[in-house]
């Protein structure tokens, strides 16, 4: 087994443990490269199927190509796609692009709060109707108790402290200093009512591993990751007002792998193009404690 095989096997094991132990399981799908690799690994684990809903938090500020790609893949892979949003904040224009709040508050409103209330079922969820291609109001309002997330330990500091199965308390918050032990391959699959568990199958993967796997498996990715001839590409994807591209000539997956191997980005954080991180003092700890993925 090479390193990618080992990473894949561990991720698949984690997926299957999650599926066996959590009745109300879902997977967060941000449409980025990591969560798309995550989706692929789910299909590996369940032999082509994805037996739980994919939840996307729609900020309505995602780069439009991302939403297009999301809907296309959902129809093609026959995915149970659900989205949630902070309708109120959007209606009252409590967003950074509207000029009414700072970037971090915007993230909290459109992502962390929307996520928390979509997972708990308190705010409406919208479900893709495969026969019409439209989204209908989801009648299921049950809280998700197991949430699969594509966080990687090497991505930024606070994520390196996650367990494979990390508990979140009733307020969705995360007690970093007091986490359960993980002996061997036994994870936290028991949880008190009202709490939930975040599950991290990609914890051990690096940015390079992700691209190597995309290349090996020929996983479809959104074009924004590649240089379209202007010498720029996105390394990490988010909302357009807060996401910047990096200088790069890489036009395809193989060239990105070569570029990463040169060490060009060794001292530049992967999320350096994500402006909200800087306002959180260079990390996402504050947001993540409140439930941000």
């Amino acid at each position: 087994m090479n390193q990618l095989d080992q990473l894949e096997a561990r991720s698949v094991y984690i997926f299957r443990e999650a599926y066996a132990n959590f009745k109300n399981l879902c997977m967060l799908w941000s449409i980025g490269k990591d969560s798309t690799v995550l989706l692929w690994l789910a299909r590996k684990a369940f032999f082509g199927h994805v037996p739980f809903p994919l939840v996307h938090i729609d900020t309505h500020y995602k780069i439009p190509a991302m939403i297009e790609y999301r809907n296309k893949l959902a129809l093609e892979f026959n995915l149970n796609l659900i989205y949630g949003e902070n309708t109120e904040a959007l209606a009252n224009k409590l967003t950074f692009p509207d000029g009414n709040v700072d970037r971090l508050t915007c993230c909290k409103n459109l992502k962390a709060d929307a996520l928390k209330n979509t997972l708990s079922g308190e705010w409406p969820r919208f479900k893709l109707n495969h026969s019409t291609g439209e989204f209908d109001l989801d009648t299921n309002r049950e809280a998700y108790t197991g949430v699969i997330v594509g966080a990687r330990a090497d991505e930024e500091g606070s994520r390196s402290k996650e367990r494979y199965f990390s508990p979140r308390n009733k307020e969705s918050s995360w007690d970093v200093g007091d986490q359960p032990p993980e002996f061997w391959n036994q994870y936290k699959t028991d949880f008190a009512p009202g709490t939930h568990v975040r599950i991290h199958p990609l914890l051990d993967w690096t940015e390079l591993n992700i691209w190597e796997y995309i290349e090996r498996e020929k996983i479809p990715t959104v074009d924004l990751y590649y240089n379209q001839g202007e010498g720029k590409r996105f390394r990490s994807l988010g909302c357009w007002p807060c996401t910047h591209s990096v200088d790069s000539d890489s036009k395809n997956v193989a060239e990105i792998i070569e570029e990463l191997k040169t060490g060009k980005f060794a001292n530049i954080a992967e999320r350096s193009g994500r402006a909200q991180d800087k306002e959180d003092g260079g990390g996402l700890e504050t947001l993540r404690r409140e439930g941000y993925m």
Partner: protein, 544 residues
């Protein structure tokens, strides 16, 4: 395909203030694994604040950068040598250290154990050594740090190293080497130092590079804890796939598999995967799946082995070595949950044989409960039989954790399966096999003194399991247009499904009555399904 560099996870542990952070900081600096300018920045910072530079500050600076000063937890730092990339899983010495160290070491292939040359072997030097042993980390290197503070003395090194080596051998660890170092001065870390000409061994880096990547145990007997049996019907998929990760051994199409503890067997029909070339075999380490040539009823929690290879053990009474991390002590009379492989079972603490003081390895014989951070030799009674291996046979499938109040509160390894004298338990496996014979062999019909009906007996240690299985069988028959009659017998409550008995009817009376009544039921032409926990041979005879 690009050539992938190998990666190795290592964990660093040792008593508090014995210099773990300095060692890591120095390794990062001396292998040029720090971000550009970081070293100068930290030095300048120290100068400004008039404090002497320490390599440990490097780690703090990195952590501050990563974490905004929040206590980092089993975080990772990276360094590389020419031969591979290393990830140091750092588990700092706070109150939660042991939980983090367990987590870190569970992901590690090798360990660095740091001991202060001035302080010598201390409490956690021993506790951590013991934990590494229980967790199964066999590649261990001991670093005797701060040699500069003892004038690089050979005799200090000799005395600590012989004391610690003796301790480690008691817990079954044979260190690859014991290296005298100075984290502060960089002695013997990346290259051999001139300051200790009496030391003839290698540097820490050379030692690490000589560690082997762990090989998967492909030549051991086949073991696969069944994670699930999938039948996804979307898009006309009719595969029924047994899924799990192979702990050891290998399989291929045509191999006969026995599932424990049920004892059921079937042959591998296909090996399943997604987005790969067609597969005919699979081996240790693979997260795999396969279909069987027969539709046998198995569920998550069974342990798959290859027929003809050494069998796993099935028992409901186990003696174990346990490390307890729970906030509350482990006590008798309380229900806990045991997770071993993929099975989960309720357990009770039966006997504490010894409480092992991990520090001086002294034993306490008369303990009645197990406190936080205790290491215990104890026996548990399980609510039903599960399948596993003994640690002396195969460590991987002997490992378990215990859940107390939703939290993983302890972990351990099974040393011994005790022959359970409870006759109901020992009769269980046999009876399950009998059920299969009765239900599947149509010739036996004549035994029931009936021309028309069929009898299906379902048994198991768990009453609810038997009822569930019986209900499933009933559904199956209903779908076939039959009209089955489902009856359940229980020890503690009288017939839940019928009201023909007084509530105080004993089990014996129930069985007697039913066996007399059975021919009448069967003569209606119906299939009668009887579920009863722990059917004995005598009871099966009566029904026949």
């Amino acid at each position: 395909m690009h050539l992938l560099r190998t990666k190795m996870n290592i964990v660093i542990c040792g008593h508090v203030d014995h210099g773990k952070s300095t060692v890591v900081g120095r390794l990062l600096a001396d292998t040029n694994s720090l971000p550009t300018g970081k070293l100068d920045q930290v030095r300048a910072n120290c100068e400004r604040n008039s404090k002497p530079f320490e390599y440990a500050f490097l780690l703090d600076a990195l952590k501050d950068e990563q974490s905004q000063g929040i206590t980092i937890d089993a975080a990772r730092v990276f360094f590389k040598t020419q031969s591979r990339d290393y990830i140091i899983i750092d588990a700092p010495g706070h109150i939660e250290f042991l939980k983090n160290m367990v987590t870190g070491a569970s992901r590690a292939e090798a360990a660095l154990l740091v001991i202060d040359a001035k302080e010598g072997v201390r409490e956690n030097s021993k506790r951590h050594g013991y934990l590494l042993s229980m967790l199964g980390i066999s590649q261990v290197v001991v670093l005797i740090n701060k040699m500069d503070l003892v004038d690089y003395s050979e005799s200090v090194y000799n005395s600590i190293s012989s004391e610690y080596r003796a301790f480690l051998s008691q817990v079954g660890i044979n260190p690859a080497s014991i290296i005298p170092i100075s984290g502060r001065e960089g002695d013997n870390l990346v290259s051999v130092s001139q300051n200790m000409p009496w030391y003839s061994g290698t540097s820490v880096l050379t030692q690490l590079d000589s560690f082997k990547k762990e090989k998967q145990p492909v030549d051991s007997p086949f073991r696969l804890p069944v994670q699930d049996v999938y039948k996804f019907t979307a898009n006309g998929d009719d595969r029924r796939i047994v899924a799990g990760t192979i702990e050891s051994g290998r399989i291929q199409i045509g191999d006969e598999i026995t599932f424990y503890p049920s004892g059921k067997t079937a042959k591998i029909a296909t090996v399943e995967s997604f987005n790969t070339a067609l597969k005919s075999k699979s081996e240790a380490g693979d997260a795999t799946g396969f279909t069987l040539d027969q539709q046998i009823y198995i569920t998550r929690g069974e342990l798959a082995a290859k027929t003809g290879e050494p069998k796993p053990v099935c028992s409901s009474l186990i003696r174990v070595n346990l490390f307890w991390l729970g906030r509350n002590p482990l006590v008798k009379g309380k229900d806990y949950l045991l997770k071993i492989g993929t099975s989960r079972v309720k357990i009770k603490l039966e006997t504490v044989h010894k409480l092992l003081d991990a520090v001086n390895l002294e034993t306490l014989e008369s303990a009645t409960q197990i406190n936080r951070h205790d290491v215990a030799d104890c026996t548990f009674r399980l609510a039903k039989q599960v399948a596993f291996d003994l640690t002396s046979d195969f460590a991987g499938t002997s490992r378990f954790v215990i859940v107390d109040d939703y939290e993983i509160s302890g972990g351990g390894i099974v040393k011994e399966a005790i022959d359970d004298k409870n006759p109901a338990e020992t009769g269980w496996r046999k009876n399950v096999l009998k059920w299969e014979i009765i239900s599947e062999n149509r010739d036996l019909k004549t035994n029931f003194d009936s021309e028309k009906g069929n009898l299906i007996l379902i048994s198991g240690t768990d009453h609810q399991d038997a009822i569930n299985l019986a209900a499933e069988k009933e559904r199956e028959l209903l779908l076939l247009g039959e009209k089955p009659i489902l009856i359940s017998i229980s020890d503690d409550l009288s017939f839940a499904d019928t009201s023909i008995y007084q509530t105080d009817t004993t089990r014996e009376q129930q069985v007697q009555f039913l066996s007399g009544f059975l021919p009448v039921l069967l003569n209606t032409g119906s299939t009668v399904i009887i579920s009863a926990s722990r059917l004995t041979d005598e009871e099966v005879k009566l029904f026949r």
